[in-house]
Symmetry: C2
Amino acid sequence: MRPFDIIKKKRNGEILTPEEIDFFIRGIIKGEIPDYQVTALLMAIYFNGMTDDETYHLTTSMINSGKVLDLSDIPGIKVDKHSTGGVGDKLTLTVAPLVASTGIPLPMIAGRGLGHTGGTIDKLESIPGFRTDLSISEFIENIRKINLSIIGQTSEIVPPDGILYALRDVTATVESIPLIVSSIMSKKLAEGIDGLILDVKTGSGAFFKEFERSMELADSLVKIGKKMGKKVVAIITDMNQPSGYAVGNTLEVIEAIEVLKGVGPDDIKELTLNIGAWMLKIGGVAREIEDAIKILKKNLKNYKGLEKFRELIKSQGGNPDIIENYNLFPKAKIIKEVNSTLSGYIQKIDTEKIGIAACILGAGRLKVDSPIDPTAGLIIRKKIGDKVEKDEPLITIHSNKKEIVPEAEQLIVSAYFINMDRMEKPPLVYKVLN
Amino acid sequence: MRPFDIIKKKRNGEILTPEEIDFFIRGIIKGEIPDYQVTALLMAIYFNGMTDDETYHLTTSMINSGKVLDLSDIPGIKVDKHSTGGVGDKLTLTVAPLVASTGIPLPMIAGRGLGHTGGTIDKLESIPGFRTDLSISEFIENIRKINLSIIGQTSEIVPPDGILYALRDVTATVESIPLIVSSIMSKKLAEGIDGLILDVKTGSGAFFKEFERSMELADSLVKIGKKMGKKVVAIITDMNQPSGYAVGNTLEVIEAIEVLKGVGPDDIKELTLNIGAWMLKIGGVAREIEDAIKILKKNLKNYKGLEKFRELIKSQGGNPDIIENYNLFPKAKIIKEVNSTLSGYIQKIDTEKIGIAACILGAGRLKVDSPIDPTAGLIIRKKIGDKVEKDEPLITIHSNKKEIVPEAEQLIVSAYFINMDRMEKPPLVYKVLN
């Protein structure tokens, strides 16, 4: 078998065999296939796609290339949640403790933010002392003890994913559904889970802006997961504006705690219940979505979710006092309003621009190894359908980089589309695939 | 400017600017753009193609990236000939001396064989003592003195071509018309020529087997050449069977000498006159093709072409006595007939298979750095339309590799399609684009 022939086959739109896919993945890990052949194949896959079978085999090869966790001696149906990424998407921080508080074990290996979208690991690391680099055995131990642990990706699990992602990132081959699906599903399924809820974002701040492409991605994710014998549900949710109000690591953790306290933004509350309910359903805690929502509402009201979040923080070395005292979080030096230049109703928000603004202010990283400023970010003051007067704030900036503020302001102002027509809020959930 | 954005632009089917193309080519030479980004771009070009303008700019960037010969102080219209490659294609060896003998200066930088097709440089190097590695100043001096010099490619001229070709070769991106056109035309136009005849082969032994693709290639080559202000003619010629009878380096040199002596195969004679006549026309020696053919016929008859070949051999250190005494060439140890297993008429020859048979017998190289056996090759005994009896020879094998002979025999037998229907010979020339 030669890498050349595999590239040529895919270039010609033919279907790769499981052996050919495996040969390529093993060659990548062993360093036997040079990067320039890998990227040629990636580009050919970008153009010619992969069948469901090929995507399944690619996912399987990737899973088998590294460590696969065995959580079978932890009782219960192990469930995880994955989001395709958005702006202000702190749902893991609300959903995970709330669902774990109902008794479902959640083994969660999460990602960092890249580009305009945030990442759960960066958010958790803004909690003073919180460790996301637990060993696999500490991770398993915590799931056993408190039903929940959230750690960052480790090179032991799906080792080629890091290599492939780095190459895709610099060769414009990120936006390929089979490559996205195999990357997501291999990492998730190597965690040893039984079920997975996929929050597939769609809209101006999502990875795929068009609904059709988001549907295609959701459909492929569900197909591959089911082919692997897992319980998988995809929920297509709106990302035409930031989720909640807070964008940026510390700011989002605080907003998530507010939600677990029963306050916080309505959209985050509603999505938390929605996504959480599907986790309860596949986790076997509730048969019907309505029942699941009742259980979750109860655990919000009696603070069981909040207490689970406290346990999570404690078990991973963080300071749980931040729950009561937000002043324990460092704060940005510059807090500044960005005002509207027009009066009217918010018609549209270019959410990617909002994400980029937060990113350049310090909340995200433009390169994989850039440092993050946990205090930086934005508070959204006006969302779609809201009325705004000229000189009224659209957003509040939090930053320590004075020189970047004007650029961020400009991005924010240009991201808002305002006119005098009344505007409906977009729906939160478009579709559930199960 | 970032390589990523250029890759993404081409991936999206957009048109690259001259600056973007130049940035990429310069980045490749300086080693600033890693191979894995180069191959991703090559694959995106494979899929989305390039406009004539992009191909022109790519060609220009490649030319300007290295040395461009200035032959302006050599009087006359400098003309070259390029073939897209075939099996038994020794036309440079017959056309070049014949045309140079009419007074046209020919600066020729030629290639080596790769895969199933032969290369002029390998053929010339089978002449004892013949040097193809003259310096640029020796090359120019010889053109000045005898109107003709033929040397191998040098890294001074179009330095990125070698890098690009090596990467294309291992990533299945060779078969891309803009990449082929820019590679051919940049090298040819950097020679300082005024005119170029392109022999675009089509058929079972050609690079492009389908006539339509060959036309597309010819059309693009002519367009780019004209845009560069050069006189360019493309002739689409048949490669559905080997040219002449000899395939392999020494064997082809002998056949070329035979043609220059006025004997040798009819197809080579006819193509020599045809291609040569267009060179005389663009070289200003004849106004009409008919007049050009008369001049060439005269120079065949009075052995001026043969004498020019002798001068070429002498001027590049070869032994000119080979012209009279073929025994000065080393000979293969094994000379063996491959007989037909059927009686009938030759309907079709899979010429690529014939080329591969010659190659594995030692006449070609499967890798860029493999050594060549100048004595190895084939003599074609039956061509399309010929009648053959069972057990009559189809081909005579010349080789020094006993262990390979059975595999070559098998390839040869399987390359011939024989049945009882009478069959016409294919035409030699399909079309002239000028």
